[in-house]
Amino acid sequence: MSLALDLALCGLILCVALGAVVGRGVFRSVIFFITYGLLLAIGWARLGAKDVALAEAAIGAGLTGVLLLTAHGRLRRMSVERAPRVGPNPMAATTGIAVALALGWAWFALPAPTAPDLAAALPLTGMGNPVTGVLLHFRAWDTLLESIVLLAALLGVWMLARDVDWHAPLGLRYHARPGGVLASFGRLLPPIGLSFGSYLVWAGADGTGGAFQGGTVLAAVVLVAMMAGVLPPPRVAQGGLRAALVVGPGVFLLSGLLAVALGMGFLTLPPAVAKPATLIIEVALTVSIAVTLAVLVIGPPDDKEPVR
C-alpha cells in the first residue's frame, strides 16, 4: 500500500515535470513548475526528510514560483519577439534519456550504504536535530559560503538596474487598493508568518526547522507584505537594509575568526558554548536570509516599466 502511494506520488511528479517541459506556452510551464515544487515537498515528506520538505515547500513552491510568475508577466509586456515554436528535438531527447538511464543504472550498481557516523559527534554540538548539526557545525564552511552565495546573487541582480533607477526603492512601485482584499491580506499574514518563522528557527536546534527553513518562510511573508503595498520596499542606500544583509554571514564569519583568535580552529564552537553560540549565529543568519531572499525576488530598483 505504501508502495502504491509512492508510485502514485512519483507518477504525478513526473507528469507535472513533463507538463513543465513539453507543454506549449511559458505560463503553463511556470504553473506546472509551481505544482512540481508542491508535490516534491510531499515526496521529501515521504522520504522522512522533514527539513528538506520545509525548504522545498518554501523555496520550490513559494519563492521560485513567484519569481518566475512575476518575470513572465513582465516579459510578456516587454518583449517584442516571441520565442520560436519548437518541435520535438531527437538529439536532446537522446541525451536526456541517456543520462537518465546512466543514473538509473548507477542506482542499481551502488554498493551498500556507507554513511559517516554522526551519533558519536552530534552530542558535542549540542544539537538534537542532526541536520542542523551538519549545517551549523560539521559543514559550517559550506553553510557560511552558501549564505554568501545569496549575497553574490543579490549583488548581481542589483547590477542589472539602470543607473537612473539606482536611488529608487527596490523592485517595482507596488501599490494596492487601501482596505482592499490584497492590502488586508498583507496586514493579516505578517504577524502569523513572523511568529511561525521565528518558531522554526527556535525549534531547529532539536526538531524540524532551522535558520534556512525559517528564513525562507520569513522571506515569503516579507515579500507578501511588500507586494501588498503594506511594507514599502527599501532603497539600496538604506543602512538598515545593508546591515541586515550582512549580519548573518558577518556574525558567522566573526565567530569563526574569534575562535582562531582564542587559539581554537577556524569556525570551531567548543561544546561548552556550542548551543547558545549556534542560536546566536542562527538568529543572525535567519535575518540575513529572510531579507536577502525577499529583496532578491523583488528585484533591482525599477522606477517604471518601459512602454514598447
Binding site: R24, F27, R82, A83, V181, L182, F185, L188, I192
Partner: protein, 97 residues
C-alpha cells in the same frame, strides 16, 4: 473505537468535498463557475480532513496546529479567489505562447 469512527467519517467526507471541487473544476463550463466550485469545496474538504485527523492527534499542540493550518488555508483561499476573479475580469486574457 469511537474516535477512529469519527476519523473515518470526517476524513471520508473531506475527501468527497475535494473530489466534488475537482469535478467542478473539470466539468464546469467557464472560469467563474469553476472558481466558485473550487474554493467552496476544497476548503470544506480540508476542514473536514483536519477535523477528522484531530481525533488521532497526540496532544494539544497538534490540535492547535491543525486548526491553524485550516484557518490559514481559508484565509489564503478566500483572498486568492477574490483577487484572481478580479484579475480575470479586467485585463485581456490572452493565453500566450
Amino acid at each position: 473505537m469511537v474516535t477512529d469512527l469519527a476519523t473515518y467519517a470526517l476524513t471520508g467526507l473531506g475527501l468527497v468535498f475535494f473530489w466534488a471541487g475537482t469535478i467542478g473544476l473539470i466539468r464546469f463550463p467557464d472560469t467563474f463557475s469553476r472558481l466558485h466550485a473550487l474554493t467552496k469545496a476544497d476548503n470544506l474538504g480540508l476542514g473536514f480532513i483536519a477535523l477528522g485527523l484531530a481525533f488521532q492527534a497526540d496532544g494539544w499542540a497538534t490540535l492547535a496546529m491543525l486548526a491553524l493550518i485550516w484557518m490559514l488555508a481559508l484565509l489564503a483561499a478566500g483572498t486568492v479567489a477574490q483577487l484572481v476573479a478580479r484579475a480575470a475580469l479586467s485585463p485581456p486574457e490572452e493565453d500566450e505562447e
